[in-house]
Symmetry: C2
Subunit: 241 residues, 2 copies
Amino acid sequence: MRETVTPALGADSEDPRRGARTLVEFAYEAMRQDILRGALIPGERLRVEALKDTYKVGASTLREALTLLVGEALVTAEGQRGFRVAPISLKDFEDATRVRKLIELEALRESITNGDDDWEAGVVASFHRLSKVEEQFKSQDRATLSGEWEERNRAFHAALIAATHSRWLNHFIDILYQQSERYRRIALAGRAVNRDVHNEHMAIKEAALNRDSDEACRLSELHIDRTFEALSKMFQAQQGE
Amino acid sequence: MRETVTPALGADSEDPRRGARTLVEFAYEAMRQDILRGALIPGERLRVEALKDTYKVGASTLREALTLLVGEALVTAEGQRGFRVAPISLKDFEDATRVRKLIELEALRESITNGDDDWEAGVVASFHRLSKVEEQFKSQDRATLSGEWEERNRAFHAALIAATHSRWLNHFIDILYQQSERYRRIALAGRAVNRDVHNEHMAIKEAALNRDSDEACRLSELHIDRTFEALSKMFQAQQGE
DNA sequence: GTCAAATAAAATCTCGAGATTTTTGATTTT
DNA sequence: AAAATCAAAAATCTCGAGATTTTATTTGAC
């Protein structure tokens, strides 16, 4: 019979389920990360029989996790022909970037109008956290920090638009941000960004806190465009290999 | 042993699987329709054990179908606490309408710029088909035609924006159109629309074919706003009961 | 009587085996 | 040799039973 006593602290760091409530969520999160990292290659077939063993879950559980990823457009499914990692292309990257701009700028504008003190605090705090990890890039190895940078960068951009009331804008931004994260990570392939993103972030932060929504949107658009330009070159070079 | 010969034509109208390639797709489509119709009530719990019998599929198959609907925001899921029909609210309806306007007008503008002869033909044809069924409203019973009207209305709006190159705009429009369809069908509850939608559609069609994107967008926005105004009143009256 | 703990019931979640379909490869025919 | 046919292999899809968790009910303590 199984012991019902709560295990000692630290023991649950061994728990393969982490924070997931269900095995579906666990498999979903593991595969999501593997797709964003590029470990699961775009276009690759996702065979249930094989992935069962990789992620240590049953067939139905795995299919349900894959179906969740279909809803986020990280996986495609075709009846009787299985699942695949969603393919990537410059055209799709361009399209996703364009639509993300449309939606994110709308959300940013509203957020700057609505934002209260908590919103300002969130922007300041997340920018600070992001700056700290960017500071370390100058000395430390980039690869070990990139996971942390990804998370803090996401948090900063989320904080900027946190004061939007629109659930739908937020939902679509989440999806498109995730798409752009995949393109960024695949294009960079572990390398460092070679332009001054920090100053762009700071300028956006300043404009937002000054409640200058036109300027903040202008700078944000510039930021997204510049990022796309830089990454699309790397992407093309990489795909052309 | 089961006969392997292809059944006679007409016999497959008895096939509960219809056009679906898999049972997952079949259950997904059946539940989708039931949610859009309001037969499955917003907020209602979706018990796998019960729905298994209703849709005549196994537990895993049903869960996979439900998970597909989670991706379209028609169903919500909470770990270890099951699935629910996505709740509705005036606030959500308002938000979905706002974001749909943002995205759909962008798509319409691009479509009018890009549209070729095939696009024009599609707009003319779908408008004609929609007009025909609206004609019949004057004489025939509305309830029997409403399914056909829904489909043709959807087709007309899809034809207008068919020339967008953006897969992402189209994807989000599909999701938001479906949301608005649910609100419309629930708010109307089988009743007829009491304003002249036909003329609004015609005006949009004319502007689009004249390649007057500003005017087409203006009229389209007006159309969406008026529809929202009318439906939101019915919706509030209904929810207040 | 109220609260809490223990128990029972109900529901979700999970698994792996089997049915169905697709894909691959071998054989035959033109 | 190319195309078509058939058989074998591999993969998807599907099911229902059992494990786990949540929810409802009962019992007991104060």
